[in-house]
């Protein structure tokens, strides 16, 4: 049976991480599941968790006046959900809703923040990984803003 340690070790996001660092993260991790339709996080609420999605699909939504909720991105198996736990003021910027039954590993952000303050090597590893994730999301957002399919290829 897979334990949390082996699941985290095999996840691409934590690839190459030292064993003692991985053990520190495992201490903040737990298994969670969300039924389809359930909100995992809500814009404006305190951000104290991030999720390694193992199964299912999650929609990141933004509510706009007169239009309702717009899905700006979907995440699925292998993706990371949530980065606001790392950056003050630790508030969610979007809603995230499970659009299918979703299973994930939840990492307690408060717990991990304490650990990275105490161990800056771990902190640097975490920052490197989240910087890459953020840069990919940023690039994808720019791409979407181009509305490139609005014109001929």
């Amino acid at each position: 049976m897979e334990n949390l340690e082996s699941i985290l070790a095999e996840h691409p996001f934590f690839q190459g991480l030292k064993e003692d660092h991985l053990n520190l993260i495992v201490g903040c991790a737990s298994n969670v599941r969300f039924d389809a339709g359930k909100y995992i996080l809500r814009e404006g609420e305190e951000a104290n968790t991030f999720y390694l999605l193992r199964f299912g699909k999650v929609a990141l939504e933004l509510v706009t006046p007169n239009k309702g909720a717009i899905i700006i991105e979907t995440l699925d198996q292998g993706d990371i959900l949530g980065w606001s736990w790392l950056i003050p003021p630790y508030m969610w910027r979007f809603d995230a809703k499970a659009i299918e039954l979703t299973r994930a590993i939840a990492i307690d952000g408060k717990c991990l923040r304490r650990k990275v303050e105490a161990d800056h090597d771990l902190g640097y590893e975490i920052m490197k990984r989240f910087s890459e994730l953020l840069s990919k999301r940023f690039e994808a957002t720019r791409f979407q803003l181009l509305d490139m399919y609005g014109n001929r290829p």
């Binding site: 699909k57 929609a59 939504e61 239009k67 309702g68 909720a69 717009i70 899905i71 700006i72 991105e73 979907t74 699925d76 198996q77 292998g78 809703k97 659009i99 299918e100 990919k136 994808a140 791409f143 979407q144 181009l146 509305d147 490139m148 399919y149 609005g150 014109n151 001929r152 290829p153």
Partner: protein, 289 residues
Amino acid sequence: MATVPEVRSEATAEAVNPMNPDPFVIRRVKRETEDTFTVELEPQGAQKDFRFAPGQFNMIYVYGVGEIPISISGDPADTKRLVHTTRAVGTVTKAMDKLRRGDVLGIRGPYGIPWPIDKAMGQDVVFVAGGIGLAPLRPALYHVVTHRERFGKVVLLYGTRSPADILFREELENWRARFDLDVYVTVDRAMSGWKGNVGVVTNMIPKAPFDPRNAVAMVCGPEVMMRFTASELLKRGVDQNSIYVSMERNMKCGIGLCGHCQFGPVFICKDGPVFPYPQIKDMLLKWEI
């Protein structure tokens, strides 16, 4: 209704002139999305087969309006029916959008270098399409599906603007239902309630089920999308010589005479529209070309 000159019956010399269009009758017009439509055509007069290779295009003449290049979007095995899919965005395509069954279009072609189907045999095939870019890839998909046993894994990654802009929806759903095809669709934006993927098409490349060391990728869409797609494919480990892109420029003659479609040292109509990525990758970064 478009009018058409008399069908040329005896002008043998004229028949071989590549600048003379042949009249084709519209047999069916199908609305694909709000601004995109498909026309199915048959040659007027003497019944003859129309043969083409996936990725080739025709010059389409709307009589009295103008002539434009449009990729063929039909099945290459169906030699009786010529199929084109396009968006109504310019003068000619808007006029074309008004035509109905029985109207006539002038056709010159087929022209251009096709997709590298032979090279893909025995390998995994990855199709990456953006928006209307799915239309020039569809003949290659038909061919691969018809001869499925000749290829390894077959993956289609398709990105478009919104759920309402998904092209060939019924066909995509049928292909996705097959056990031997992997079809993934994503849209740039959707309202809450959409159960499919939202995000850019390049996001799907890292997870797509193919062996990058044994794959041929065929990419068609807006240039910026093709650039980023090629970059993700390279990152995944696909050899740059196995990446092919289909370019579009202002083609006028279609046969490399007029120079309108010059792209650096090549003519898109004659040397393309399908190019191996290494041949044009540097030019994709020069907006002046």
